[in-house]
């Protein structure tokens, strides 16, 4: 029973009832943590198997072995040096970086207007934002493709993916607006009494307070671009120099169709930045997810 003693915060008098209560709590602790460990295995083992296979030799990756005989770290270098891989990285960073910056620039004023200003048609505007947020991108893809390819001659580039972000992203507007609603109006009013214009009040007062939501939107947009497969497939597939990681990765499987080790090494290299970024920005992520589902 020494173990249970260390688990209870306040010492309970050693009555028979107290002992049963403590035992129940201990068993509960064991049950919860066993379940949690089982769940953690389910969530983490896929990463482990992918990593182990990524470090196997070509031959061993085709066997049923789970553990590498020798650690082939050079697989990562082979993938890195595969023609195109570096270009895909650059393209993905361009798409995700520029896309995120443009989304923030365009969405913040719109979200602010929808959260703060009263005007006719505001509810209709909000409903349209939500409708576009829920809309599968495939619904409008045919005319959009024709527009970019036939009228602007920009297919085979990343511009059809990046330029629309300068004209807002519905999800970002929605998330920002939900957050801006929680900022008391008085702050802005006080700033205006002090002679701030609406725009100045937004930049000086509201934006610093909205930093968590802005960070969340930036992260979500960055990952949306990083993960996007459909967009690059539609607009960039005809030109390998414009492929992104998500799109290139799938064709990488083709170039190395029997080499599970290299394919998994590439998979790992595409997953890695997202996961590294997560460890730097955990809080913003969790807050962002919560904001979309719970607030409001």
């Amino acid at each position: 029973m020494t173990m249970t003693t260390s688990l209870t915060a306040a010492p309970v008098p050693m009555t028979a009832a107290g002992r049963t209560a403590r035992r129940t709590r201990f068993l509960n602790w064991i049950a919860v943590h066993s379940l949690a460990i089982a769940a953690a295995l389910f969530f983490l083992l896929p990463f482990v198997f992918v990593a182990l296979t990524a470090l196997m030799s070509d031959q061993q990756a085709l066997t049923r072995d789970l553990w590498p005989d020798a650690w082939h770290w050079e697989n990562l270098r082979t993938v890195w040096e595969t023609p195109g891989f570096l270009t895909w990285w650059k393209n993905t960073l361009l798409y995700a970086g520029l896309g995120t910056a443009l989304t923030l620039l365009s969405s913040i004023p719109v979200a602010y207007a929808l959260a703060r200003f009263k005007f006719r048609g505001r509810n209709l505007a909000l409903m349209l934002v939500i409708a576009t947020m829920m809309l599968p991108p495939q619904v409008v893809i045919v005319p959009m493709y024709l527009f970019w390819a036939k009228q602007l001659h920009l297919s085979g580039t990343l511009w059809p993916l990046i330029i629309p972000m300068a004209f807002t992203d519905a999800f970002s507007i929605f998330l920002l607006r939900q957050f801006l609603l929680t900022i008391p109006k008085d702050y802005v009013d006080a700033a205006k009494v002090d002679g701030c214009g609406e725009f100045k009040a937004l930049v000086r007062i509201v934006l610093p307070m909205a930093r968590p939501a802005i960070a969340a939107v930036a992260l979500f947009q960055f990952f949306y671009c990083w993960n996007d497969y459909f967009g690059p497939q539609i607009y960039a597939s005809e030109n390998p120099a414009a492929w992104t990681l998500s799109y290139g990765l799938e064709s990488f499987k083709g170039a190395h169709h029997t080499n599970w080790n290299l394919t998994m090494a590439a998979t790992l290299l595409v997953m890695a930045p997202v996961i590294i970024l997560f460890f730097f920005a955990q809080k913003a992520f969790i807050e962002g997810v919560t904001l979309t589902g719970v607030k409001g």
Partner: protein, 319 residues
């Protein structure tokens, strides 16, 4: 405000105009965006659904021909719709149940909570293509680790992505792996349930199940509904995972110039968004693609309307 009772003089009118211009200025990126990237293409889709158009020669009017082609002669429409129904019923409900379970579990974990929360959340971040390729490897029937382990403990070894009756369960497993977003949402709402309600229930002698049924569930039901409806809307957009899983499992080489007939094996991984791609970009049948796109639009909007109606608080208030 004293100005409210004054007759609108020239000063007030110009202030109103200034206000209106300011609102327009703030909204302008969105006004342009929603017109160019939403309303215009949506109307075009309606227009193209009545036209014969291959993307090269000028469109000509064909009336309802595209519609009857998609519903009667295009062999992939009904399988794709059936798959969508399967995914909505099985995948969405399992995801909500599992997400709620994991969310409840994480609120009970006392030791190492940070580690477990990160572990449960991490797969949600894996890029869909990478995650799907990882699962195509893990569930690969010949040498994949999962069947390897199943075999070693004497369990049957399914064909997963290579077997039409197992491909959707395999996709469901992949979806359950990426449950992190739902876990966080459920976790937050579970922590918001007032503790005194549990204490009151305890005093009334309620057991664990009764507490869940009569305290937890009523408190989190808006979030459950939110998760179900957004899950259905996500299913309407389900594209990358079934396509990549089919490609990898069938051994088709991806990349430019390669034609992949989606749905491998035996149309079991077909979804409606894939049909838009197949018709519009592989068969150059703009009209047919537009019809499928409109069906997709109708379905997505029905569920969006449900979401907005049932969660009137969804939009929040401004005061």
């Amino acid at each position: 405000m004293t100005t409210a009772v004054m007759k609108p003089g020239p000063g007030l009118r110009s202030k109103q105009r200034r206000d209106r211009l300011r609102i327009l200025a703030f909204l302008s990126p969105w006004l342009i965006g929603v017109s160019v990237f939403f309303l215009y293409p949506l109307l075009s889709t309606v227009y193209f659904s009545f036209m014969k158009y291959d993307g090269f020669t000028p469109p000509t009017w064909t009336g309802l021909k595209n519609w009857s082609y998609v519903f009667n002669d295009y062999p992939f429409f009904w399988p794709a719709l059936r798959n969508t129904l399967w995914l909505v019923i099985v995948m969405v409900s399992l995801r909500v149940l599992f997400g709620l379970g994991i969310g409840m579990l994480i609120t009970k974990v006392k030791t190492g909570a940070g580690f477990f929360r990160t572990a449960f959340y991490l797969p949600y971040l894996a890029p869909p293509v990478a995650a799907t390729m990882a699962f195509a490897f893990l569930l690969n029937p010949g040498t994949g680790p999962v069947n390897n382990i199943l075999g070693s403990i004497g369990l049957p070894q399914p064909g997963w992505f290579n077997d039409p009756s197992w491909s959707k369960p395999a996709l469901t497993l992949l979806a359950l792996w990426g449950i992190g977003d739902l876990m966080v949402i459920f976790m937050a709402s579970l922590l918001d349930v007032p503790q005194d309600q549990y204490e009151a229930a305890s005093l009334d002698g309620a057991g664990a199940w009764q507490k869940f049924r009569f305290v937890t569930l009523p408190n989190i039901s808006p979030i459950v509904l939110f998760a179900v409806v957004t899950g259905i809307i996500q299913t309407m957009q389900y594209y990358t995972q079934p396509l990549v899983a089919g490609k990898v499992a069938s051994g088709v080489i991806g990349g430019s110039g390669q034609q992949f007939q989606p749905g491998y094996p035996e149309n079991s991984t077909l979804t409606l968004p894939q049909l838009v791609y197949n018709l519009g970009f592989q068969r150059f049948d703009t009209g047919g693609a537009s019809v499928v796109a409109l069906v997709l639009f109708a379905l997505a909007m029905v569920f969006t309307a449900v979401l907005m109606r049932r969660r009137s608080g969804f939009l929040g208030t401004d005061d």
